[in-house]
């Protein structure tokens, strides 16, 4: 897996944005991935045996060459996954509306309608209406008060893909974004379980992004999660996010930690190995002080959650400063 951040520019300001650190790092002139870098990336993906082009941003659909990039990827027989906030330029929507839902998916990130600006919400809904079966809903959980009840009606009303991607908003290393503190994981776990129950009634699947941990859910209800349970625990690995300038980072929250350059020999497996090596030390702790005593940690069933949060737990205190 590798994500291509084709632009750091966004037309929205989500409070939890993971790209916060990298967005502030680029001036406008360097904020769009040049075509030549994109072409080299397609070669990198082919060389690495990765069959999917994952475009993200910022908001990827505002890249001036967005349509060209989608076309190029489809021509080379990649599946295209676009991470979007749904506020797309008209031309991008028109192009995506013609795409085969089998080859092109838009992962549309939403927030609760009550928290969304009404104009933007309308625009998002319009995108869902037009792109229907190409759209999968996603939500990043950044607050313990976040409600998830609006997702199922959207899927049913607009005929969207019957799957919901849930993500936890993790802290970037600078902690400049709003993130869900692990002390609230159990509260959110209850809401996820309740969504999972309702989704099952409509034959809708739930999917987890990285960083979910088993102790978010009450032990006696873990079995109810079924195969989803396997998506918790050991779910923090280098993702390989490629920034517009051709530099790889392990993942957005770890943006400031280490970068590797895309070159003509880069291979995803080797980059993943190098990032993993850099992060190895942090496998010895978890997001909570009690993780190291947790039987799931000791049996390597859980690696203690998000590495970025673990690193945020670490401090450097000078004895006599």
């Amino acid at each position: 897996m590798a994500n291509l951040s084709i632009t750091t520019i966004c037309n929205k300001t989500c409070p939890y944005c993971f790209a916060e650190d990298s967005r502030t790092q680029y001036d406008k002139a360097n904020a769009f991935m040049p075509e030549e870098t994109f072409d080299r990336t397609l070669e990198f993906l082919e060389r690495s045996g990765i069959g999917q082009v994952r475009l993200l941003g910022g908001e990827p659909t505002i890249h001036p060459d967005f349509i060209k990039m989608v076309d190029k990827a489809l021509e080379r027989k990649f599946h295209v996954l676009i991470f979007s906030n749904g506020l797309m330029p008209r031309k991008a929507i028109e192009r995506l509306a013609k795409a085969d839902p089998e080859t092109t998916t838009i992962l549309l990130n939403t927030i609760h309608p009550l928290e969304e600006d009404p104009k933007r919400m309308k625009k998002q809904q319009k995108t869902m209406e037009i792109l229907g079966p190409r759209v999968m809903l996603g939500v990043n959980i950044y607050s313990r008060r976040q409600e998830l009840d609006y997702l199922i009606p959207y899927i049913l009303d607009y005929g969207l893909i019957r799957e919901i991607r849930l993500g936890v908003a993790h802290a970037v290393l600078s902690q400049k974004n709003v993130f869900l503190h692990p002390k609230f994981y159990r509260e959110i776990g209850q809401k996820i379980l309740s969504l999972h129950r309702k989704a099952r009634q409509h034959d809708i699947q739930i999917g987890f992004d990285c960083g979910f941990v088993p102790c978010m859910f009450p032990e006696e209800e873990l079995e109810e999660l079924g195969p989803l349970l396997e998506k918790t625990g050991n779910c923090c690995h280098p993702i390989l996010d490629l920034l517009p300038d051709g530099k790889f980072i392990s993942c957005y929250p770890l943006n400031n930690l280490h970068t590797l350059s895309l070159d003509d020999n880069s291979h995803a497996a080797e980059l993943t190995r190098q990032f993993s090596e850099k992060l190895e030390a942090y496998n010895n702790i978890g997001i909570y002080p009690h993780c190291t005593s947790c039987p799931l940690f000791q049996r390597s069933y859980c690696n203690g959650g998000c590495t970025a949060f673990k690193m945020n737990r670490l401090k450097n205190s000078f004895a006599y400063e």
Partner: protein, 102 residues
Amino acid sequence: MKDKNITFLPHILWTVELQGIFVVDKQTGNHYFLHYPEAAVWDLLSRKYFPEQIPPVISAIEQVNLDAATRIVSRCLMEWSGYGLINTKNEYGKFIDHNHLQ
């Protein structure tokens, strides 16, 4: 005036765990898990205790006499200095001002 002779090096990060203290050198990735009483020595240093103030506390926590506590502290400082975790101006043995302890 006491000598300000110990600092944690800037590339050293640490966090308190339930069973001790995890210390990592972010440059090399070398990492250490300090169990008690070593973790208590680290914790006291981080709370701006001077080295000579630490043995009495360790002696109380560990229920050992002051000499034994002083040896624990000296051993910690020697090891941590060797691992490149702390910065010391003097030889580790000189941290412990025996006259001050009496």
